[in-house]
Symmetry: C2
Subunit: 395 residues, 2 copies
């Protein structure tokens, strides 16, 4: 038995974690653009990175150093340090060396970047920014604001997890998302901290397990960035660990942040769960659900609040999964519009389905009627704001 | 040796072909919405259909009847007759029987539909419309207008092909496209007529051959419809055939119409050729080129005329093909922005590349530097008009 309680504090909620976000002059108007997470004792770290072949320099640095423990993560927005070659990698090393020289307690520092691809990192600005860090600060909100790019609000979550005998541990996290969110690992950064005493062997296992149903189940625009990163840091300060409770709490943290990312997709006004059931197997269900969450025609119909079930059917048909019009059922919320070959869509159901679509969050369910495969993908609508944001991102 | 001359007349340019488009009351304001193509002698017919599992009723009808020859094609807009089950198929048969009863010369009639999915066909309106047909009319333009959905202009092309000894044949075509245009067969209808005496064995072969580099190389929004159809009709009236000349002319007809479809993509302002060279093989080049033409981030950058080469690189990297930042070169038109690990992008090149992007048609070239695989995909930008059209298509 265990209980979860939502608490404040984001990445600083667990014992021993510190964070802050400052302005290093990369974002206009003195907005925060450089953050750190620091633990006063060494953490085990496990990370999942983008599947993009052109992984950004900070990811290359992490992998090259085979980092398994750290007490300091530096995160900058506005510049992805991707496609920057050897210079990009040198910049990471030079910046992290500078941090170590300023703060001798830093061990195995890690960097993470997000922003424009293919522009050299403003190294000197970042170095100067680090000089103003106070590693004793616990301003998780400032850190979560600093890592935002086109996000419209900061994304934080934290839980206290009580297990037996009054023992408890905490888990906190922050994320940024907004654009380039896609099914093969969303374009996003997410940093999860915990004072649970997670054994090193469990770190990667639980992180990977929950990624497939959370961050890898969401889509804003189907693009996979060069910088996607999820990091889990455990400093063990609570001296408490319960695998089941930790796994549950981690899944909840990742799921909540994943939904926040979709809901804050560039220009998004709705977060929609595409539940595919009855597929030949889970893989086909995943494929079909992601086809729905990525379809431009579906996304624009969501934006128009148009219960165009034909586009749902057509997308399922085009997805390449085993399907049969005589076995397919399509529901918008609890309104069935098509059932096993029969069109139930009429004026009354259209009105009801349109009402479902006015909500900021709802589900579209497709039962393929073939076998037992199921998967839920999360997506958002695509409207004028998306075009506006992305037609003019660099400027 | 052969020469091609562009001529007027669309599908009626070849000898013996007739066509017209009338209003059957499906489109508002008495716009044309029902068309026919008729030949005064029997034609060989070859067709390519959508890969969508939920093929529309008229396609099912064609395949069920194993039609190999015909002299009459009926085409309606506004309703796809897709996801309409047995009733949809019965409607096709009932409508075509009615046509045959009115015009006894009709043999093996074929139907083709485009429009909204999942709404029963307005059968009586169509039957009434057929009653007003004059099979002796040669108004190809009226036919090409009648098959439009969200197309902003009709798409026609025709050529006279002169071979040796003063002999010649003609080829004409019309198409509709606009939305749901995708790489695994564009959502589109295309009807090609010729008086060349094409042997039945060559019909399917040449049609299939050119589909991969024309209609299957274009993308507006990555969705594959239930109704995609390309039909080739040959009545042999010229008694002339030269395989090389015919194949060349057919490719030109299909290529021109494919580009017209992209250029008239919903809300599109630019038609862009994504040329991928140096890939591990042609298949990987195709994959990478289509990833570029389908990327929302690339499409919105095109709309914003933003030479964001980093999005091009990131999309290549995310496409799953073999690639290496040290071997990759990216050009916008003739302006190289990134070359084998080196960022050449600077203020001067940015200005030059932005100038390239102001054109209504240009190329983005990616040389992967791996081996000899190449493919060119054609895509368009995505702007506010796309959202506007698709958020409100049914109403």
């Amino acid at each position: 038995m265990f209980t979860l309680t939502s608490i404040d504090g984001g990445v600083c909620a667990p014992q021993g974690f510190f964070a802050d976000g400052i302005s290093a002059g990369m974002k206009p108007d003195g907005e925060r653009d450089l953050a750190f997470i620091h633990s006063d004792s060494i953490c085990s770290i496990s990370a999942i990175f983008t599947t993009n072949s052109f992984r950004a320099a900070p990811i290359q640095h992490f992998l090259k150093k085979s980092i398994e423990s750290t007490n300091f993560i530096l995160i900058n927005a506005k510049n992805a340090n991707a496609m920057t070659g050897k210079k990009g990698l040198d910049d990471v090393e030079s910046i992290l060396s500078h941090a170590r020289s300023l703060f001798p307690q830093i061990e195995n520092p890690v960097m993470s970047s997000t922003g424009v691809i293919g522009v050299p990192l403003p190294k000197e600005k970042i170095k100067k920014g680090i000089e103003s860090f106070d590693l004793g600060k616990r301003d998780a909100k400032a850190a979560s604001k600093a890592i935002m790019t086109t996000d419209s609000y900061e994304k934080e979550v934290a839980f206290e997890v009580k297990i037996e005998n009054g023992k408890s541990f905490r888990i906190g996290a922050m994320a940024k998302g907004a654009g380039m969110i896609n099914p093969a690992m969303a374009t996003m950064l997410c940093f999860i901290t915990t004072d649970a005493a997670v054994p090193a062997g469990d770190m990667a296992e639980v992180l990977k397990k929950h990624a497939s149903t959370t961050f890898n189940a969401i889509s804003v625009d189907g693009d996979t960035s060069t910088n996607d990163t999820v990091m889990l840091l455990s400093n063990g300060k609570s001296e408490v660990y319960d695998k089941e409770a930790f796994s549950f709490a981690l899944e909840k943290v990742m799921h909540e942040l994943a939904l926040k990312i979709v809901a804050d997709g560039e220009g998004a006004t709705k977060c929609v769960a595409f539940k595919v059931t009855g597929a030949a197997n889970d893989e086909e269900a995943t494929w079909a659900a992601k086809a729905l969450s990525n379809s431009l025609l579906v996304k624009t119909a969501l934006y128009g609040e148009d219960p165009n079930w034909g586009r749902i059917a057509s997308t399922i048909g085009a997805s390449g999964v085993e399907c049969d019009p005589e076995k397919l059922t399509i529901k918008f919320g609890n309104v069935t519009l098509y059932e096993k070959g029969e069109i139930l869509f009429d004026k009354e159901r259209e009105t009801k389905a349109a009402k479902v679509m006015k909500k900021s969050s709802f589900s579209i369910e497709c039962d393929l009627g073939i076998a037992d495969g199921s998967f839920t993908a999360y997506g958002c609508d695509l409207g004028h704001e998306y075009v506006k944001i992305n037609a003019d991102y660099r400027t």
